[in-house]
Amino acid sequence: MNQEPLIRVRGLTNRFGQHSVHEDLDLDLYPREILGVVGGSGTGKSVLLRSIVGLLQPSAGRIEVFGEDLQRLSTQDRSRVERRFGVLFQRGALFTSLTLQENVALPLIEHIGLTRADAEALARVKLALAGLPGESATQYPAELSGGMIKRAALARALALDPEVLFLDEPTAGLDPIAAAAFDRLILTLRDALGLSVFLVTHDLDTLYAACDRVAVLSRGRVLVADRIDVVEDTDDAWIHDYFHGPRGRAAHLAAYPAEES
């Protein structure tokens, strides 16, 4: 990767009281790549995501997004940059009082100033793009299954045609079939829309199926960030347990069935 990174995190430190989550963490996200971020519970994967999208003020460090330092921008410029982000929260975070198409249409009406009819027509396109059937557009989030909520939340994240998509455990709580479909959906969207994807996950299958690079978070920093075959051979106890445990082996075999012999 000799391109300029879209997102450049340097020396990021996050402390909550005495407890330090990140200590001098560096990470890059390049254009059109899917970066998987893994790590044990409590290694600050979600905190990293929240720091990058600006929901959390880091204790120290620089986060450059599209070549600009987010913390130094005025509120207006920040909002302009943040519009180029799409975020899928862990539990969807759909607005419960709005139907799906209203959920997706909201940023279109607020930011682009489309009329309601136009915005909802476009919202239905995005919902279809995320793989939801047409009749779900007028349903409320409470009427949907977990997988459909994830898809609808993805449609909302895609509403403003973002350049970077942040996904926080997108396949958690989905059955394996729905999770595999979601992996494929993300790959298709990346290829079609040229997105860069920052994907926080626990799902080994997703790592093998969808990710171009994998970053491993441990002890407050990025241990390694590289292609998955490089990462799984890294000499570290946690990485070894993670990738060479029974689940890791199964996911590896599913991804590279030829090596079974």
Binding site: T96, S97, L108, I112, G113, L114, T115, D118, A121, L122, R124, V125, K126, L127, A128, L129, G131, P133, G134, E135, A137, T138, P141, A142, L158, L160, D161, P162, E163, T188, L189, D191, A192, L193, G194, L195
Partner: protein
Amino acid sequence: MTERPAHPSAGTLLQEGGTLSPRGDWTLSHYAALRRELGRCPRHAWAAAIDLTGLGALDTAGAALLAELVGAQRLAEIDRWAPDLPATRRALLRTLGEAMAHRESSALRPSRPLIDTLARTGQLVEGFWQQQRLLLGFMGQVLATLAATAWRPNRWRLTAMVAQLHQTGLNALPIVALLTFLVGAVVAFLGATVLRDFGATIYTVNLVAFAFLREFGVLLAAILLAGRTASAFTAQLGAMKANEELDAIRTLGIDPVEVLVLPRVLAMMLTLPILSFVGMLSGILGGALVCLLALDISLIQFLAILQRDIPLNHFLVGLAKAPLFAFLVAVIGCLEGFKVSGSAQSVGEHTTSSVVQSIFVVILLDAVAALFFMEMGW
């Protein structure tokens, strides 16, 4: 994302001969203008040949417009008719075309305002009926559980009940006392103003005492608890329901009515009479203060009139209503909590509903009781 050309330009749609050629940036920021342009373009031209080579930046919004222009199915087959476009652009158009073609096959139901209104009205009426049935059933369930546990002291949830007594009773004491005190003063002022014309200001004492012993003490306390406690019950149980805690309790073989509802209902039935009593005292105190300051009726005189004119049965009639009100308010609060369905919005809706219902029931029942006691001459 979108490939940005050197010179960004607003998207347009050119018609040259029989060919449509979209030019410039077909992106979200030009969506409204492009949409207007599409509206101006005559329909018969839509099926014409299309030349995509002049297209600048393109995103999903622009692609959706293109899909409208040429048809989703045709866009999905873009590899066939425009193979020289860049692969990423074809991928975008193909993906979107496929998604929209799939959606078109499952069309939306057209809305019918008149029938929808009728259906909604019917739904509301039936919902109201169901609600009343449910409430009656739930009351029965609570009473049956109470009867079943009453003889088994080892299943009394004393700790839970004491905690509820603390929350619904002790914590509500100051606000009940303050409000009834103020209302007592107001009633005394009203009495003084009206009775002054008849030279009968002394009867202000009777007015305040009658009003608070029979009605206001218990009514104000019940309304306050409806607003303060019924809503709390709904929110507590609703949050537990949303978090599947109620289901967990059931799967552990424990009856949620026994562990959650009974302590709340019993605590409420104990506290409301006490709060009503406090409300009566404090209302009469407010009245006495106004009598002392505005009408020069001394406290001793006030008490003497009270003792001479007001028989005990007024106090009993007032207090007798308290346990009934308490039962209804608590049961409505708990039932609304059980009816919460998952979302945060649902918790809010049912909390509102429980307050409205319990205040309604309290006032309605009080009116009926007033009528009944009057006819009975109590």
